[in-house]
């Protein structure tokens, strides 16, 4: 459709027409000053991948320490720093940025816009997120990272218990990267509400865009309380305030409410965009329209609102009243209804289709088969009395990794395999994709499956060692083995990204025979995305174009 010549991703969109620069400097200049949503999106993704490697190394070190009971590979405090940094990194500097990055790249293309609503705010959001991450890591240079756990329960974060400056770096880093996230969220909402192509009503949004909209809304609700809580920590630590200083009338309980009021919606911030990506991939590779779009859309909104009222299910052991316990348990179980609806709709979309198992679909099937398990263990954890046993045990660790890797990561890989050709103009290697998939799939099950067992056998999380008589050694050894099997899968992925970018088969505009607007422009798209803004009549504009005899808008 677009006639613009395919531009190389590292060459397009220089916004300075003035000075002449060459080579590396020119490239760096282009990328650091870019306000193009596609380049910013790629920057987000690259940042996440770097942090993913760092967080992964931290995990491997911990698994080494836990391989033998009473091993002395790492000092206790080092181990505690590692799990704090691992959790913080994976949630704030891998999970969120990679999804925001994909959203950044795709939303304008999918709604037929030329950029995000506020391009400069967009660049600001990225850079401040990156600086936030660097600031948290800078704590290492001050004599050690924070050892407070990623949810940083007060009063362990007070000066009395966390004396070095590491905790301040942690709080400041999250604070400013949170501002970046809020900036991105505002931008998504404005872009999606105001910049859709002619004819694309809110009811005709591609499903991924719909989920990004609600993810952004959720970010706007969830991050301000975290920001406030982080400011309170900094006040306590730097200005002698007593918000969480129990000895002086502060409250440890307050922190938990503030943190989880952010922390639970955060889980959905990390999964809703993935629901969106899966809802793009499954139809295209099953060759069928998404089953029950309206119900899927309504389920998304239901998840957003219900999940904002369930945060205290992380706090069932703090001794709330039984009534409160029950309210939060019931609310948590309610979330499973819209989530179930989504699942059934995905299965119904596949049903009767003609399924191609190219890499995106492979990862999507990985997502479907694994995420359901994470959802079900979530239901077990929401069953309050059972949570009295399982809370803060390795069962929980197994559960949320199942959701975050089996769900978020598999789904994100599906998305990256699906859209990489659009971003670079080249296909990723399918052979490497299969290696990556199976190593990850097997390694993942072997890593996190046994964690459920060790948790049920009484092993609490965040312990740097355990006695040999506890019967946990075998399960921990299986977990470590699984981690070792997973490791090469990430290496293969990174290799695939780099090698295919140089030598992959050219993709063309529409390699998957897909249906949404991003596939109408070149791969990679020119800086202005579309030569002329497309006019849309249905949720699948390219289906209409490819099947003029039987267009979608007749049925929607």
């Amino acid at each position: 459709m677009s006639l613009a010549p395919p531009a190389h991703p590292f060459e397009n969109a220089t916004h300075d027409g003035s000075g002449r620069r060459f080579g590396l400097t020119a490239m760096l200049h282009t990328w650091t000053t870019s306000v193009d949503h596609k380049q910013i999106g790629i920057l987000y993704i690259l940042m996440s991948l770097v942090f993913l490697v760092i967080g992964g190394i931290e995990a491997l070190l911990m698994r080494w320490q836990l391989f033998f009971p009473r091993a002395e590979v790492l000092a206790p405090n080092t181990f505690n720093q590692l799990f704090t940094m691992h959790g913080t990194t994976m949630i704030f500097f891998v999970g969120m940025p990679i999804l925001i990055g994909l959203g950044n790249y795709l939303v304008p293309l999918m709604i037929g816009a030329r950029d995000m609503a506020f391009p400069r705010l967009n660049a600001f959001g990225f850079w401040i997120t990156l600086f936030g991450g660097l600031l948290v890591y800078f704590s290492f240079a001050t004599g050690g990272a924070p050892a407070i756990g990623w949810f940083a329960y007060a009063p362990l974060t007070e000066q009395t218990f966390a004396r070095g400056p590491a905790t301040d770096f942690w709080a400041l880093g999250l604070l400013i990267s949170g501002i970046g996230t809020i900036a991105a969220a505002v931008n998504f909402v404005a872009t999606i509400l105001a910049m859709r192509a002619p004819g694309m009503t809110m009811r005709k949004l591609p499903f991924f865009v719909w989920t990004m909209l609600w993810t952004a809304v959720q970010m706007l609700f969830a991050l301000p309380p975290l920001t406030a809580a982080l400011v309170m920590i900094l006040f306590d630590r730097q200005l002698g305030a007593h918000f969480f200083d129990v000895q002086n009338g502060g409250s440890a309980y307050l922190w938990q409410h503030l943190f989880w009021f952010f922390g639970h919606p955060e889980v959905y911030i990390l999964i809703l965009p993935v629901f969106g990506m899966i809802s793009e991939v499954i139809p295209v590779f099953s060759r069928k329209v998404l089953f029950g779009y309206e119900f899927m859309a309504a389920a998304t909104v239901a998840i957003v609102f219900i999940s904002m009222g369930v945060w205290a299910h992380h706090m069932f052991c703090v001794g709330m009243s039984r009534t409160l316990d029950l309210v939060f348990a019931a609310a948590s179980l309610l979330v499973s209804i819209p989530t179930g609806i989504k699942f059934f709709n995905w299965l119904a979309t596949m049903f009767g289709g003609r399924i191609r198992f190219a890499s995106p679909m492979l990862f999507a099937c990985g997502f479907l088969s694994m995420f359901v398990i994470g959802g079900l263990t979530g239901i077990m954890l929401a069953s309050v009395p059972l949570d009295f046993q399982l809370s803060d045990s390795y069962f929980v660790v197994g559960h949320f990794h199942w959701v975050l890797i089996g769900g978020t990561l598999f789904g994100t890989f599906a998305g990256i395999y699906y859209w990489y050709p659009k971003m670079t103009g080249r296909m990723l290697s399918e052979r490497l994709a299969r290696w990556q998939f199976w190593l990850l799939y097997i390694g993942f099950i072997l890593t996190f499956g046994p964690m459920h067992v060790s948790g049920m056998l009484g092993m609490p999380r965040r312990i740097y060692t355990y006695d040999p008589d506890r019967g946990w050694a075998l399960w921990n050894q299986l977990t470590t083995l699984g981690a070792l099997i997973q490791t090469p899968s990430y290496a293969i992925f990174v290799y695939n990204l780099v090698a295919s970018w140089r030598n992959g088969t050219p993709a063309g505009d529409d390699p998957w025979d897909a249906w949404t607007l991003e596939w109408t422009t070149t791969s990679p798209p020119p800086s202005y995305n579309f030569e002329e803004l497309p006019v849309v009549h249905s949720r699948r504009p390219l289906w209409d174009a490819k099947h003029p005899e039987d267009p979608d808008w007749q049925y929607e």
Binding site: R70, L156, A252, K288, R322, L334, R354
Partner: protein, 340 residues
């Protein structure tokens, strides 16, 4: 990595692997939680088989075959089907909420006030970085008023004669969590809040657990030991613990050394000038099987190593090393060894 940690000896001295499984309940509360676990597990398995079954069927039955090239029929949705698969999970959720409510009321009961002849033990548990303080308050309505540490003794219940143990949970510093899986679910100890937990079992013996809320450097070695004894034995233990520390002229030099060192700032030995409360009460140290909150067996060698330098056994713990001379160390240890 090569160094053998004293903790491994603990394993050697106790022959079998310990059982801390939530599926080996030894109390009514743990039992009802196990029942709920099995129920949710069964529902879990059913849904799992259903979903994975449909998924596998789809993958196998609808995989693209070379012969067919036309697009399959496009199905946009179906309201009755959507309503059906909204209703089914809703019913399951409703059923689960009922089951949860029942178990919740069984597992988490309000704490009664102590009464004469109630056969109940009341203990206040205070979490410290990284050890447990137990203040025995009343048993059978009798006031007790002594403090011990790290090993909780309780009487066994008999059919028809429950001997419940009501724990009041508080924290002296950061958040901790009391978790002995076979006796009950966990309950957090938060500074500034008071929580309650009830233990009750008809099984005598040793029950293990540990702190389940990350509380700093030595969270991993904040172990819990609950020793459940027949009533007579428990009464004997109570009588011994209530008494002040044993005095023995043979260890007079050790006693003087202890009282002269800063030990007294952190440790209490009832009946002596040592009145510190920052560390565990040592009045009847030798009645305990372990040291350092269950980390190492209570043997003379371990005790000597501990006092020589606690930081090698429990790096980061809040008792510093004192550089005691060989003789002084030996004297103090000899004194402590008499605190039965």
């Amino acid at each position: 990595m090569e160094a053998i940690h004293p903790g491994t000896l603990l394993a050697a001295s106790e022959t079998a692997t310990q059982n801390l499984s939530i599926f080996a309940p030894a109390s009514p509360a743990a039992q009802s939680i196990q029942d709920l676990a099995i129920l949710t597990g069964a529902i879990f398995a059913l849904i799992l088989v259903l979903v994975e079954g449909i998924l596998l069927y789809n993958i196998w039955r609808f995989r693209a075959r070379a012969e067919v090239t036309a697009e399959p029929a496009q199905v946009y949705g179906s309201q009755p089907v959507e309503i059906a698969w909204t209703t089914a999970p809703t019913l399951i959720v409703f059923f689960l909420i009922l089951a949860i409510t029942r178990t919740l009321w069984q597992a988490k009961a309000a704490q009664p006030a102590p009464q004469l002849d109630d056969h109940a033990l009341f203990v206040k548990v205070i979490g410290h970085q990284w050890w447990w303080e137990y203040r025995y308050e009343t048993y059978d309505g009798r006031p007790l008023n002594f403090t011990t540490a790290n090993e909780l003794h309780m009487p066994v219940s008999e059919t028809g004669q429950p001997r419940r143990v009501h724990l009041t949970l508080e924290s002296a510093d950061v958040c901790h969590s009391f978790w002995v899986p076979r006796l009950n679910g966990k309950m957090d100890l938060l500074p500034g809040r008071t929580n309650y937990l009830m233990l009750e079992t008809e099984l005598p013996g040793l029950f293990l657990g540990q702190c389940a809320e990350y509380c700093g450097d030595q969270h991993a070695n904040m172990l819990l030991r609950v020793i459940v004894e027949p009533p007579a034995e428990f009464e004997r233990w109570l009588a011994n613990e209530s008494a002040p520390a044993a005095e023995n002229v043979a260890v007079q030099t050790g006693r003087e050394a202890f009282m002269a060192e800063s030990c007294v700032n952190c440790h209490r030995i009832r009946g002596t000038p040592a009145e510190g409360t920052f560390g565990p009460d040592l009045t009847h140290l030798m009645s305990r099987q372990t040291l350092a909150s269950g980390e190492i067996p209570n043997s003379p060698e371990n005790l000597t190593d501990w006092i020589h330098n606690p930081q090698t056994t429990k790096p980061g713990c809040l008792m510093p090393a004192f550089d005691l001379s060989e003789t002084r160390l030996e004297a103090i240890v000899n004194y402590l060894l008499t605190l039965r």
